[in-house]
Symmetry: C2
Subunit: 196 residues, 2 copies
DNA sequence: ACCCCACCCTGAACACTGTTTACTTTGTGA
DNA sequence: TCACAAAGTAAACAGTGTTCAGGGTGGGGT
């Protein structure tokens, strides 16, 4: 029933993209009528919301493992950055639902909140440890957190939209990504990130 | 005629977003019939493409001025980063057309190419000067260029999607942005960006 | 055994979308 | 004045998300 719809929708979304999948096609994939789906989900968005929550569950599971396995904070950040980008590449549809949808159309009360907030807390904690260890000079932890997140997030967008492929051409993406993450995490003296 | 359609479409796109504007609404805004538009543009996408080219023209004009006015390469990069983000905030629809659309559905032959490529060249050149000046250690210029672009691009996405507002809460966005750009541009010794 | 009710599901419809086609109007040059 | 090409239109096509009135079907209660 519900699970059946979700699995069919996930496969179709991942393969064809959210906008290219119609309720009629989801229904067709499981031999239902389009209207029947509305007994389990109030609209197409809600199917997505449920899948998004699943995505965060999957991501945060790996993230917890990475935190456990890497006690060195810099190594942990490097691994996390690469993992974030790998996730964006390997589960693009989940990724887009989780990190690219407009926050205004996300019900913050929904099942999304739990694993999503845990993921952010884990990251924030790591950054605070790094800042406390003096890896980034006097920089503010919030500034560092947003800067690093922006970095990997933006890189994911540039890769996914094809701009890296067009502009970097022959370079291997894997090594490029590794180099970029290293650059973002370079230790450096950096004044307090206040107004300047 | 053509100009009339473009102006109406631009206003509607900026105000309501590309997907929420139908050809019928564009036509209605200028008292045309929907079919009449197809005499000037072969489809809805082409209207967008034309507007995107306009956007690059506008952006690159400011970029040229900034290159002229700032001989210090680090100051130039800082100003350019902030300007990129300001453009993303103030002309969100142009910005999205220029930097967020899928490259596979962009006709590289079209009028887009000229100013778009000039913009990228100006940026690349500045980064190469910075690297040559030793601001970022041994890092590769391509790595630095993509890392910095990723940074401001990702930050624009995080702000636009509302994640910064939700997670940073009370902090002023302007000063946060300034701090983040400073952090991204912090001088630092950084090994060659090759595989690691 | 009967009846009735609640649930699940369906076909058809509604109000949209981008786009195409056949047709009418309009302006201009010969 | 006539003719022809350009400009604009209404209507239709194929698709979308969503809603709604009605079939069936299964499981109690009497």
């Amino acid at each position: 029933m519900r699970r059946l719809i979700l699995d069919a929708a996930r496969q179709l979304f991942v393969r064809e993209g959210f906008d290219n999948v119609s309720m009629r096609r989801i229904a067709g994939a499981i031999d239902y009528s389009p209207a029947a789906i509305y007994r389990y989900f109030s609209n197409k968005r809600e199917i997505l919301s449920t899948l998004r929550a699943e995505g965060f569950d999957r991501y945060v599971a790996g993230q917890r493992a990475r935190v456990r396995e890497h006690s060195d904070v810099l190594a942990r950040m490097r691994v996390e950055g690469v993992a974030y980008l790998r996730f964006a590449m390997e589960e693009p549809e989940y990724y887009q639902l989780m990190f690219c949808t407009d926050c205004s159309e996300v019900d913050l009360e929904g099942d999304l909140a739990a694993s999503s907030l845990e993921s952010h807390d884990l990251f924030q904690e790591t950054v605070e440890q790094a800042v406390a260890a003096g890896l980034f000079g006097e920089a503010d932890a919030d500034v560092v957190a947003f800067a690093l997140w922006s970095g990997v997030h933006g890189l994911a967008q540039l890769i996914r939209s094809g701009r890296v492929a067009v502009l970097a051409g022959d370079v291997d993406v894997e090594t490029l990504v590794a180099g970029i993450v290293d650059f973002m995490l370079r230790p450096g003296r950096c004044g307090g990130g206040e107004a300047k």
